[in-house]
Amino acid sequence: MVSVSNDKNSNIASSPPTGFQVIFREFIKDKLALVSLIGIILVTAYVFIMAYLFINVDEIMRVSLRDKYAAPGEKFLLGADQGGRDIFGQLVIGAKNSLEIAIGVTIITSIFGIIVGLICGYFGGWIDNIIMRIIDFFITIPSLMLIIVFVTIIPKYSQYDLVLIISLFAWPGIARLVRSKALSEGKRDYVNASKTLGTNDFIIIFREIMPNLSSILIVETTLNFAGNIGIETVLSYLGFGLPPSTPSLGTLVSYANNPLILQQYWWCWLPAALFILIMMLAINFVGQAFRRAADARQRLG
């Protein structure tokens, strides 16, 4: 026992566990992650600025029949689709929509999942039992199917409804992960110490345990974020995503369903597909760097 715990001590002692420094060092070490991070920030900023300040959605979505499948060039930076609508504009707006949905879903599910997970993991007992049953239920049900069913029954649905629907099915996964981490974290003596030192449960949960899970939470949130971009595009691809005439990456990519477009009018789908691919990759690289930062054993820096 003795030497084991000492080894651990010395390991951790050699590098402080405080978040940002470690993360920073990790990024300095891993150039790819750094480039990814900067790229994500720049692209996101660009997309949002363009989408909110410079691009008029109505303008973009205006059908202009004479420009059907216009090739990339002067008039349209990335060409036009079958409705003669600017692909670039749609890409930007679509990216904005996908990102907003992903962000929305990530925030909602993270907050909800983290709170529920922490409470279950910390308190245990019947609260945990009941909520875990619910979570088990959610995890085993065929969520993609139910999302689709939901989308078809909501009468006047919007982007926000979509966020809520996806969130409804996405939080249990996070809650379960957080719970298991909180469960093991809650067994650590500093939690016991806080209890004996008179700190109340909610402070322990949110001020003691949560910060210690923060690195895992960051990693999970990042990877979930990537996943949520994915789910939106899949739904849009299947035709159950964003409402029509709302530009979406999934819709753009689904143009590739048509072999003619796939081959000849590649500009309709390829930019969106590449955007998704690169975005997911970049987020993933960043997530991996976070993960290494969170796990002392894997650190590079």
Partner: protein
């Protein structure tokens, strides 16, 4: 598919926005109204090989239902497949009227409301059993049976004397059916109209193999193997193997009454719309049915195929709600004053504002054209070619609106109604493929260009089923709607424009209109000329009232591989399936 032997199907059906299904089962007729954009028949030369399998692709994104019995099927694709092994008794002439060429002949006794159906002797089912008059009677007993759950037990069917009693279970059989001898059946009707010559009024034009399915309880029929797996048929080919929902393999029917088919067999396969074009290019299929016109550019330049085309029995329209249906009393109540769309000028303006021409050209490659009337030109004798229709003319639209007092008073670029109130017109439109969304947004744009604020009911395109649900229920969210009808072979407006018709969706009726609608199907209409006049007057009247504005007629195109010989989709010179030949072992690539 370009089959030849389907009997007349008189029913009109709502057509959804894209598929060509509703009309694929139409019989052939000379296409006279349009200057042949396409060939109607292939002219591939070369020596035919003996036998060979004809590969037919059926463009469809879902599996087919696989109910291979004319009395029971509901999915038009099933009918498409069955065409190769059809149980049809009659053939039709170029005017869609039943002819004497088929297995059976029809004698109509107008005075006594009776018809005689006589079958040829020596016709055999695909299993070698002879066709009997019981086989002709069986379908009536199936459709009329109390356990029958299909839609074919309808008003028309009840026109057969004794059908209702039989259906209620109070009679063991339909009293109006009388077997006169081994080859003749007499059927008595309550009334008869010209529809009888098109296979309407309750006449059933198919036979069913009584020796195979006669003893199967009607309730169990639809799931029976005799319907699903090994139907016995009368057509040129017979069912051989079926992969449910995906494909069917036919082999030639040696007992075919017109002679042994030249092909060994036919394979019909469901092909998703996304892969069809490439498959055509690589010669995967010999004949492609239900090919969507929007995909035309994808195959235009292929050298290995001939593209056949013919007008479809179809029109799409813009409907205006000008009243309600009174479900208590089963009648249409027109109320121009109380309807947002009550002003005929407003309706006309909405029509003139639509740039349907551009849509037809760009999206449909001119495989659709601006419709000017509610009768497709194929029905040459009924079609009113003189009508101008509402061709694209935004200036006219604007001046009409100005005239009618729809002007922009608050300066937002959108017109207010004559009272100066904001005018928002709610459009219900059906969902379809990606193109459909573009087109609808383009139309909305068209209207905006003339200053009309038209928005979508529910904010999105509405799925086919619920679209008709809402339209039929007079959903207050709907001011105007875009629908389509497949006319079938009998373009009679009854059922769609009559004073009691639930499917009179615009809820317009008037004495004048009702006069035409009733007239067209009255006994007086056995006088063809008089009937034609009524048709033309009907079309004129609707154009004038603009409660339904025709939008598009469409073409059906059938890509055919260059190895296929003797194939035609001409309504008047139909392909004889048993005559089709192939000129090479392998498809032309």
């Amino acid at each position: 598919g370009g089959n030849t032997e389907k009997p007349a199907d008189t029913t009109e059906k709502p057509a959804d926005s894209e598929t060509t299904t509703e009309t694929t089962e139409t019989p052939e007729e000379t296409d006279t109204a349009s200057d042949a954009l396409f060939d109607l028949a292939v002219t591939h030369d070369g020596d035919a090989i003996s036998g060979g399998m004809l590969k037919v692709a059926m463009v469809k994104d879902e599996p087919f239902a696989g109910i291979f019995l004319a009395e029971l099927y509901e999915d038009a694709y099933d009918a498409d497949i069955m065409a190769y092994a059809s149980n049809s008794l009659f053939e039709a002439d170029g005017n869609f009227m039943l002819s004497d060429e088929g297995i059976a002949t029809l004698e109509v006794d107008q005075d006594n409301n009776k018809v005689l159906v006589k079958i040829r002797e020596g016709v055999k089912w695909s299993d070698g059993n002879p066709l009997t008059i019981e086989d002709v009677m069986l379908p009536y007993l199936i459709i009329g049976h109390k356990d029958y759950t299909g839609v074919r037990y309808d008003t028309q069917f009840k026109n057969i004397i004794g059908a209702e009693e039989y259906n209620a279970g109070t009679a063991d059989t339909i009293s109006g059916l009388k077997k006169l001898d081994e080859t003749t059946l007499e059927i008595s009707f309550k009334t008869l109209s010209p529809s009888i010559f098109y296979g309407g009024d309750g006449l059933w034009t198919y036979a069913a193999p009584a020796h195979q399915i006669g003893d199967i309880p009607v309730a169990e029929l639809v799931e029976n193997d005799a319907v699903r797996k090994n139907p016995v048929t009368l057509g040129a080919f017979k069912f051989d193997k079926i992969v449910p929902g995906e494909s069917v393999q036919f082999v030639k029917n040696e007992h075919y009454w017109k002679g042994e088919p030249k092909l060994d067999g036919v394979i019909v396969q469901v092909v998703p719309s996304s892969s069809i074009s490439v498959a055509i290019g690589s010669g995967e299929y010999d004949i492609v049915s239900s090919f969507n016109a929007t995909k035309m550019p994808e195959i235009e330049n292929y050298e290995n195929i001939t593209i056949l085309g013919r007008p479809e029995l179809y029109y799409s329209y813009l409907g205006f709600k000008v009243g309600k249906y009174d479900y208590e009393n089963s009648k249409v109540v027109t109320d121009f004053e109380g309807s947002k769309m009550g002003d005929v000028k407003l309706r006309q303006a909405l029509g003139y504002a639509l740039d349907i021409e551009a849509v037809s050209e760009i999206y449909y490659n001119n495989l659709r054209e601006r419709a000017n009337s509610l009768i497709p030109p194929v029905f040459e004798s009924f079609y009113n070619a003189e009508l101008k229709g509402y061709t694209y003319d935004p200036d006219k639209a604007m001046s009409i609106l100005d005239e009618a007092g729809y002007v922009d008073v608050d300066g937002d670029g959108l017109r207010e109604d004559p009272n100066g109130e904001k005018l928002e017109i709610r459009l219900a439109a059906m969902s379809g493929d990606a193109t459909q969304e573009d087109i609808i947004s383009y139309y909305l744009q068209n209207w905006k260009d003339v200053g009309l604020n038209v928005t979508l009911t529910t904010g999105r395109l509405i799925e086919f089923n619920s679209f008709y649900d809402k339209v039929q229920a007079d959903d207050p969210e709907i001011d105007i709607f875009m629908g389509a009808w497949g006319t079938g072979t009998n373009p009679s407006p009854s059922g769609l424009y009559g004073a009691a018709d639930q499917y009179n969706f615009s809820r317009y009726t008037s004495d004048e209109l009702e006069g035409y609608v009733v007239g067209i199907d009255s006994p007086q209409a056995f006088d063809a000329e008089w009937r034609a006049e009524q048709f033309k007057a009907f079309q004129e009247h609707i154009e004038e009232m603009a409660t339904t504005i025709p939008m598009q007629f469409r073409y059906e195109i059938v890509p055919v591989n260059k190895r296929v010989k003797n194939y035609s989709i001409d309504y008047s010179e139909p392909t004889e399936l048993h005559e089709i030949e192939l000129v090479s072992e392998n498809p032309v690539k």
